[in-house]
Subunit: 394 residues, 2 copies
């Protein structure tokens, strides 16, 4: 898909601008506008500490309909109390005014430093220019939005699928503080398919569960996680099995974005897919996969291209998942290093080390205790992660 | 306590030797011998994957009595199947033979690389010299044992207390793969107090729960964790309230050792004490404290001397613990940075950054939701951690 340009998503205009939240002066404000209104649904952080824009968007999305999404990077407007709420509302109001729509129809999302009140006037001053610059929701337009919401991301994240008579396209940002339930991430999916809000909510929740909620960079989840879907209804009606096709397209977009987020984990040099099989239950499979994906020792070993299966054994062992030590097997890519719970020796490990030269590593672990399988994505842990996060606010 | 030398623990001889498991040639084999027998108790890893020496010691300790402990560093003898079991038994048998005691009276502990069978003959060859070199369990002797079990530890860990007519002294190793239930750590506590095995087990479990099980370096727990206590019974009988005094002394030794392990976390520059208060329940207090202590983002910020309270808010928020956002307070040492859920501003953060120059940082967090309190110890996350663990096996 990435060879062809993204299809146009009918019914939307999008744009980006700089309002000075990023010290670099790069675009930090993104706007999505659906003049005739969109059915919408969302999935938000389950963190008990929720940023002001999350509180507002969760409330507004209950209507199932919205006209715009205003998103910014550089300031998360989290843990900012009543002042932060007022600032978020003011920013949304500025967008509503410039677009000539009711403010309750504007959804909000913010990402960046926690604990600083969003400078709403700064945002408000940039909004008229942002609105004037709105353009079609095509590859260029969506890339501009994806770039505006980047924080420590190293590349804009954009994914799409086309169905019969409709398109689905999404943008996302991730990078740090990425963990299940959800990642610190923002993702906005646009489609022109005509689907009602309740159906959208069901499909989005389902897609998020096996994509965004299977990504973990550092086990930290954020105060601002927001995944939104907007459907303009400009495309052809979906009849019968076409809805299944749409669900698959939506899953595909979420899947691509989730993997991009893992690949672009802070300081990451490798995308790691942890494929856990042979667990007694689905829950145990997921717990074991996450334990491996969150283990700093495993992630550091991958950075060091060390097929350190002992650390993987220790991680699954402490996950609470039942396992049969005499039946455990572990492979890095195509190179199996453990069979029947025992090492296959230095030659196998050398082969595994070679597999780890690839940008994407599939870590296959079988617990030998049952039939349940789960997949989780993560990245390696590198000195660059420490550097980025020790200096982040300075 | 650390200004005075450790007291002699009567009834024990201890020693260390090099058998070549450490490539540096440094001592890697420690022996504790109690010729007239000791009451004993132990706490072992809850990891489902258990190393051979753990399997054997767990079985043998059930007798409540032992004569010796043989411990090695440089090879964990974990995930090594029947061969590993045979090797561990052979090493123990060599010690038993040299000491002239039954092999079932020898407890075993190993730490080091996972997945390699312990070269038992190498160990066996060093045992006679090790036995000949046994000396009293005083400061010098115990330091030798503490040094022999070091892996990536940067200093030998030794702690002690004296009671009326008895001493309690302990040695430990920690460094990496340190997490609750237990740390990857070995710790051996010796006392000459006359206490039966069942009482010892109760007191040890209790002491471990609030000391070793409150330490986390990287959330990884190991296949080899072993905490043993041996009581020679050479000291004065404990009557009435004296047992409470002994329990306190035992707690003190475990407390000191646990904090040393946190302080010496791989690559650590700071000992961090997370004091969590104001939780609804004890369980929630512990969950929130651990979430903060395990957060790579929090730990990296501490390394960067950044009073990044937003990351702490995010960590407690995702811990599952109930909190009252409008009542949360956070302090670094004496510098409060959050009151009523809101930042106290740059000046407060600057003061907090200064507090972080200390080698030991107390991070106080109040959730404002209840009365429960818990303490967890950890360390900062540094580039050195990555370096150590990316290269560990090479």
């Amino acid at each position: 898909m990435e060879s062809k340009p993204a299809p146009l998503v009918a019914g939307f205009s999008v744009g980006a601008a700089s309002c000075g939240l990023k010290k670099t002066g790069k675009p930090d404000l993104g706007l999505i506008f659906c003049p005739e209104g969109a059915a919408c649904a969302g999935v938000f952080t389950r963190n008990r500490v929720k940023a002001a824009p999350v509180v507002i968007s969760r409330r507004r999305i209950k209507a199932g309909r919205c006209l715009a999404v205003l998103a910014n990077a550089g300031n998360a407007n989290a843990c900012t109390g009543p002042e932060g709420m007022a600032a978020a509302l003011e920013a949304g109001r500025a967008a509503a005014k410039a677009l000539g729509i009711p403010e309750v129809q504007v959804l909000l999302a913010s990402t960046g430093v926690i604990g600083k009140v969003l400078p709403a006037q700064q945002v408000a001053r940039a909004v008229p220019g942002l609105v004037r610059g709105l353009s079609r929701a095509d590859q260029a337009g969506l890339t501009a939005v994806a770039s505006a919401i980047m924080t420590t991301d190293t590349f804009p994240k954009l994914a799409w699928r086309s169905g019969e008579g409709y398109s689905v396209a999404g943008v996302a940002k991730g990078a740090g503080m990425i963990a299940p339930d959800m990642a610190t991430m923002l993702a906005f999916v646009l489609t022109d398919a005509p689907i009602d809000a309740m159906t959208l909510q069901g499909l989005l929740t389902q897609a998020a569960e096996t994509t965004f909620n299977r990504v973990t960079v550092d086990g930290d989840s954020s105060t601002n996680d927001t995944l939104l879907i907007l459907a303009s209804g400009k495309g052809k009606a979906l009849k019968g099995r076409a809805l299944t096709g749409f669900a698959e397209a939506l899953f595909g977009v979420c899947y691509d974005l989730a993997r991009m987020i893992a690949r672009d984990g802070e300081g990451a040099t490798r995308l790691v897919e942890v494929k856990l099989s042979g667990a007694k239950t689905q829950k145990e499979a997921l717990a074991a996969a996450r334990c491996v994906a969150n283990s700093p020792l495993v992630k550091t070993a991958i950075y060091g291209r060390d097929a350190n299966w002992g650390r993987i054994m220790a991680a699954v062992g402490r996950s609470g998942a039942r396992l049969n030590p005499a039946k455990v097997s572990i492979s890095f890519g195509k190179a199996q290093v453990v069979r029947g719970g025992l090492t296959l020796g230095p030659r196998a490990e050398a082969a595994a080390a070679r597999e780890m030269e690839a940008e994407e590593i599939v870590l296959s672990i079988d617990l030998g205790a049952g039939e349940a399988e789960e997949v989780v994505w993560t990245c390696d842990l590198t000195p660059e992660y420490i550097k980025i996060n020790a200096d982040y606010r300075t």
